[in-house]
Amino acid sequence: MSPGAPPEVECTRLSKGFDGGVEVLREIDLRIEAGRTTAFVGPSGCGKSTLLRLIAGLERPSSGAVEIGGRPPAETLRRAGLAVAFQDPSLLPWRTVRGNVELALKLARRRPRPRAVEDLIALVGLSGFGDARPAALSGGMRQRAAIARAMVTEPGLLLLDEPFGAVDELTRRQLAQDLPRLWEARETTAILVTHSIHEAVMLSDRVVVFSSRPARIVADVRIDLPRPRPAGTTADPHFLALSDRVSAALAKGMGDRADGLAAQ
């Protein structure tokens, strides 16, 4: 498999508990198709971020396994085959925006690509801010820089954990238009954790809905809206119908917890 080719991701009976007996994930079976965009939605604290970290190889499962393109995550990490953008942009404060993006290339042992770096910085709407240090940027600008950093290594698998959290509404819509075009052009497998139903339906080919902790899959909704999806898509009856389905599943997943609390 070439380093850039999008892999499929397979989770088998994946469970994760933390010290003190908090069970976050219980026996998740999930197969994520190569080259598609999948969104994870669920109540906050339900464990969808933990699932993402397990896929990224940043946590070890308590039981079960994750395979990326048929191999354990550690191997994908070594080949720089995946990239992560966390909710917290975590830009290195001593490097400029450009320096942060370039460092990702350097750490991945790739050749410098000044042109591609500039293009990415422009794509996330930070033209003219390449020399700015993170401290001089707003929260939204930092998150956009973090997205550029994640995409610069052209990973086959892109993991985004609420990457638009601190981005203002206008930029958010702009990014929702531009980013999928970028990762579709290169056939990236993308996983997006979000609690915005709108964003999930707009950006992805499939929305997986999780229940509250311990997370189980309560719905798996295929988003068969044609691409590209212009801004007007949000008024499309089919878009609204799909959003309603996700929304209903989410409410059902939360309801489980409410029932659980009532029973206690």
Binding site: A56, G57, L58, L77, R78, R79, A80, G81, L82, A83, V84, F86, D88, S90, L92, P93, W94, L103, A104, K106, L107, A108, R109, G125, L126, S127, G128, F129, A132, R133, A135, A136, L137, S138, G140, M141, R149, T153, D168, L170, T171, Q174
Partner: protein, 304 residues
Amino acid sequence: MAISDTGSRRMRRAAPRIPFGGWPEAGRATGRAAISAGWWCASLGLLVGFWELAWAVGWANPILLPPPHIFLADLTDQFRYFDPTGGRAGAMGEGGSVWSVLGVVGWTTMRVTVGLVLGFVLSLFVGVAIRYFDVVGKLTLPLVTILAPISPVAWIPVAVFLFGIGNAPAIFLVFVAIFFVMTLSTLTQIDQVPKEYIQLARTVGASKRQIYRHVILPAILPGLFVTLRMNLFAAWMVVLIAEAVGVGSGLGQVTMMARNTFNASLVFFTMTLIGLTGFLFDKAFGLIQRKVLWWVGPSNVGGL
């Protein structure tokens, strides 16, 4: 794009806050410096005033506690006690000048600086090695923890046994005064590097060496400089003791000589010199710190 516009406007508004960024700001900075200098004078004046008053009223014996107007009266006479070579310890030198005083101060400053640089570099090296190589950590950490609480004063005989009399024992003692603290501080700093920085590097396949070089090292430097600066005064205290005991020249030796010859004026004159030198040393260090750690805002640099 509308968003970039607001962003650049914010940048432009922020720009004049950089020192020397514009005339009106520079003028205000000068004004602020003048006010700050005024308070400095008032603070020093308070001590001098009390002292002079105590002398005028007759509480302070001018032989034991000569006030500033006495011990600063005959500078050329004071200068004669300063011999940078240390060849005439305990006696007056011939034709001492401002230059011989600066020479003595220079030697002491050199010993502090060399000791600090050695201590900083080696502690950084050892601290990183402890975290980087598991075996080094297991072998070294207990030793460092046991040696850390031993006062540099207890090391004085060891310094003299090892290095005899001269510059080396003084430099060694300054080194000892900061090395263990700085090593432990390096470890703390490494452990406090945000784990997201390291995880993000790991997700793109960075090796351990790359992570240490590009992420951990730059991340711990600001904290280490703050620790180093806090230990600056400890280094100055130690060098004076070392000079009094094991060098035979420098400010510490002059102080010891003044004590032995019951020369109170010289004692206070030397103390003034030590205070001034230490103050200037700290200011110079602060400047270096700001130059090297340009990414840390001024509010985060050790209370500057």
